[in-house]
């Protein structure tokens, strides 16, 4: 990837987002002025055409699938999957198990759970059913920084992390420009270095996102000033 200036990046972003036409005079001028920008623009347009072509293929596949005659065993798939989901996701991605193996596994699990309940006795956290995944918007909450006179060093938030999910903190300028993005977090806080804190403007917006492989499942945001 060729390094571009921030102005060129912004222009290229506008072109690929469809906000500016690739043959707009100022885009053409930039191409004439900068071979690197012209190369990146060509590459981006080629990739977009490739994506559109693949998307068209996908539409054809969908249309063909709609017209495809019945497939042997298709009626049983949903039943098999329902059964599989009922028995838990543990074996979902592995090869199909025999009925005997599944039955033994369920009985063993039930025995272990029963023993655990007996031994743990009155411990409510252990005997309560597992909490469902918190994918609802109100499960996430920005705790700090919020409001005026805020400290930008630690970004804290509430929220329960479901299995396979992670948090992400995004700090934005007031005009929506992204300033800092955390890596995947499995704790409820994100710490900035002194240098990062100093570089932030005095008023920010920040978001905490709950993500999994399927995308953003929940988010919360707050405004803070120092």
């Amino acid at each position: 990837m060729t390094p571009l200036s921030p102005e060129q990046e912004r222009l290229l972003e506008q072109v690929v987002a469809g906000d500016v036409a690739p043959d707009a005079p100022h885009v053409r001028n930039e191409c004439d002025r900068s071979p690197a920008f012209a190369r990146e623009l060509d590459a981006a347009i080629a990739l977009i055409r490739r994506l559109e072509s693949v998307a068209n293929d996908a539409r054809e596949d969908i249309e063909d699938a709609r017209q495809e005659s019945s497939v042997p065993g298709e009626d049983a798939i949903a039943d098999t999957v329902r059964e599989r989901l009922r028995k838990g996701r543990a074996g979902a991605s592995t090869a199909r198990r025999s009925v005997l193996q599944s039955t033994v596994a369920i009985l063993a699990l039930a025995a272990v759970l029963g023993l655990a309940i007996v031994f743990i006795g009155n411990d409510e956290s252990a005997t309560s059913p597992p909490a469902p995944p918190h994918y609802l918007g109100d499960a996430l909450q920005c705790v700090a920084p919020r409001g005026n006179d805020a400290d930008f060093r630690v970004f804290r938030f509430n929220g329960i992390l479901p299995k396979g999910a992670w948090f992400e903190v995004v700090i934005l300028a007031q005009d929506g420009t992204e300033l800092i993005r955390s890596h995947r977090l499995d704790v409820n806080e994100f710490l900035l270095s002194d240098e990062q804190v100093r570089a932030l403007p005095d008023e920010i917006e920040w978001q905490v996102l709950l993500r999994d492989i399927g995308g953003v499942r929940s988010s919360a945001d707050a405004v803070a000033a120092r």
Binding site: L47, A65, T80, V81, L85, R96, T177, V216
Partner: protein, 162 residues
């Protein structure tokens, strides 16, 4: 759910019938299970078939890649050669391209991959994607742009073959 079984047959045909009926059934089960688990995320902004297509093609591509790896191991050839061979083979050229993109998108990860998929495979506007993700439109456009750049690099360098 019958649609997914039929879709996999179509995809397999496009890939030169690489998967056996048993393997297809396995992929169908994985795809249906994944789709059922995420059924709550279907918001009706695309057709159910388009939504299911993502699950079917993803699981097919995954199984296909695993099979290629196994076959490359068995023949002691690098995996890259097999994938390159598929992309070059006339019978599956467009499937090879889709597979390469699917693998690169999978590697890219959310939110960029999600935005690119919604934009191209579900015909969603940036405004609709932003609303769905709970983000500003400008942020989504920036992610989209960044995703495209990374996707291009990944496809060009063959990084997704590793």
């Amino acid at each position: 759910m019958k649609f997914l079984s039929r879709l996999l047959v179509v995809l397999n045909r496009r890939h030169g019938g690489m998967m056996t009926p048993d393997e297809l059934e396995e992929i169908a089960q994985d795809s249906v299970a994944a789709a059922l688990e995420k059924l709550g995320s279907f918001d009706g902004s695309s057709t159910i078939e388009t939504w299911l297509y993502g699950y079917g093609s993803f699981h097919y591509a995954n199984a296909y890649r695993k099979k290629l790896r196994r076959s490359a191991k068995a023949s002691r050839r690098p995996f890259e050669e097999d994938v390159a061979g598929i992309a070059d083979a006339p019978v599956v050229d467009r499937s090879g391209d889709r597979l390469a993109l699917e693998i690169a998108l999978e590697k890219l990860g959310p939110p960029e991959s999600e935005i690119i998929r919604q934009r191209y495979f579900q015909d969603q506007s940036f405004e609709a994607i932003a609303q769905r993700l709970g983000q500003k439109v400008a942020t989504v456009k920036t992610w989209f742009y960044r995703g495209l750049r990374e996707l291009g690099t990944s496809l060009n360098s063959g990084e997704h073959h590793a």
